[in-house]
Amino acid sequence: MSNNAHVKSQMLKSTIKLKNEMGRHYLAIEQAYREGKPTAWATSGTPVELLYAMEVQPMLPENSATISAATKNSQKFIELAEDEGFSYDLCSYFKTNMGTTLSGTTDLGMGGIKKPTFMLSSDVICDTHVKWFQVQAERYNVPHFTIDVPHVVSNTSNRQIEYYKKYIQEQLWEFLDFVTEITGHKLEHDKARVVTENSYNLGKIWQEIFELRKTIPSPVSTKDTFGGLFPLFTMPGLKTPVKLYQRMYKEAKERVDNGIGALSNEKYRLMFEGIPFWHNLKYFNFLEQFGAIIVYEPYTYAFSKFMNPNITKEMLLDNPVKAMSEIMLSFWYIYDLKTRIQKFEETVRDWKIDGVILHDNLSCRPNACGLYDLKKHLMEDFDIPCLIITADMNDPRKLNTTQVRNRIESFIELLDRHKKR
């Protein structure tokens, strides 16, 4: 096995500009408060675009929680929430958010949060979102709207799916009324067209960047994608992040055209499923000395949203409410196990992946559920090497750095034998 401690993967130069985008987002929030513009907390998976289209400034507490973790503040917030009686086993995003509230931290740079005009949640990704916002809406005494999204399982019939679409659509119309009632703002068609077009373009370029990662060597590593995800959550509908992604794409394409990889000694191509360790983003750097690079993350890909081929740009622009309701029904995390296995198998093939690392996230049931079955099927049915590691995305207490590292190193040795077979 090659063991070159000096090799480092190269981040795209444009990704560095991500800081400006984050800064822009925070400035917009500060400005909204100064000007008395309505604001909303939203959970990921909700149609944030509709908020932008209705001139409501969105804030995503999950995202703020990642900032707390990246700035090494999450543990302190989590412990504050635990002192309040919230269990050790609850989602650490929630606890980070709750701890921020309890401490009164409003500094956005360390993941602080501010009281919003209202809250928007949905159970599309997890039931935690709904309970979390309910707990907080009661504390802050603000209105809370939640969108219920039924899950599509292997026996869901087309008739049911059609009914689900209508059910979600009805809720979105209700939601628009809810916003109008609170803020006086209405959904203007022209504004909605601009916002949804930007969001569509943002998601599509992100997908194109992922397409480039199919190339051997991969031009892009997780150094670009883990952080690069930020605008997909917080700014879908704005123009500037689209420009940033275009620059990232251009740079990655140049690398592909010149046969340059993010990692010069690429040897093993990995997939990482789950939420990264925001409290230790440099953790995976040690992979580089083995020539291993993560070339695909279902999690970062999933938030590009526009994966359902039935949802065209025209449809989105002409009828955003209908399109948004369909998007909510085709979100990666509501797939049943069978579809999930199939998607993984296809991805492993298309991205020429040698091994899959699955993050059994102690915070997150939707992420962790089914991982062992998934692993079993990928290994037994398709001979894809898989490794499950147990940790937590926001709680550093739950990552045993040495133990996990040892397991990953043994896994790479296994990949080496597997490749030689």
């Binding site: 269990s87 039931d127 309910q134 707990v135």
Partner: protein, 115 residues
């Protein structure tokens, strides 16, 4: 008195046999006292309060299985509300194993003494 999904809550209200069965079943489910998976927590608390009054309850035990997030989310709220009422409240987080049963029984005994 209990507030378990397959306990008393199951027959708190009955299926109306005089109307269309499908509608009756839907109505039954919609009118049942809410589960911890649903919101708002206040509604659930109000149901519990009514039960407490009706059955002259002296203490409340709330048991959460580890990873039963809905119950875990509600706990601090319930704790606060029961305190305001002056109602003794015992919260236990358990795993499905013998060890945790033993520990719980010790805590039940202590709770009985408090009451």
């Amino acid at each position: 008195m209990d507030d378990l999904c397959i306990g008393t809550r199951y027959f708190t209200n009955m299926i109306d046999e005089s109307i269309d069965p499908i509608k009756a079943i839907a109505k039954y489910h919609l009118e049942k006292p809410i589960y911890s998976t649903k919101i708002p927590s206040l509604e659930r608390f109000n149901t519990l309060r009514k039960l407490i009054e009706k059955y002259d309850v002296d203490g409340v035990i709330n048991i959460a299985q580890k990873f039963c997030e809905p119950i875990l989310y509600d706990h601090p709220f319930m704790n606060k509300k029961f305190k305001e009422m002056g109602m003794p409240y015992l919260f236990i987080e358990i795993d499905y194993n013998r060890e945790s049963y033993k520990q719980s029984s010790t805590r039940f005994e202590a709770f009985a003494e408090i009451i």
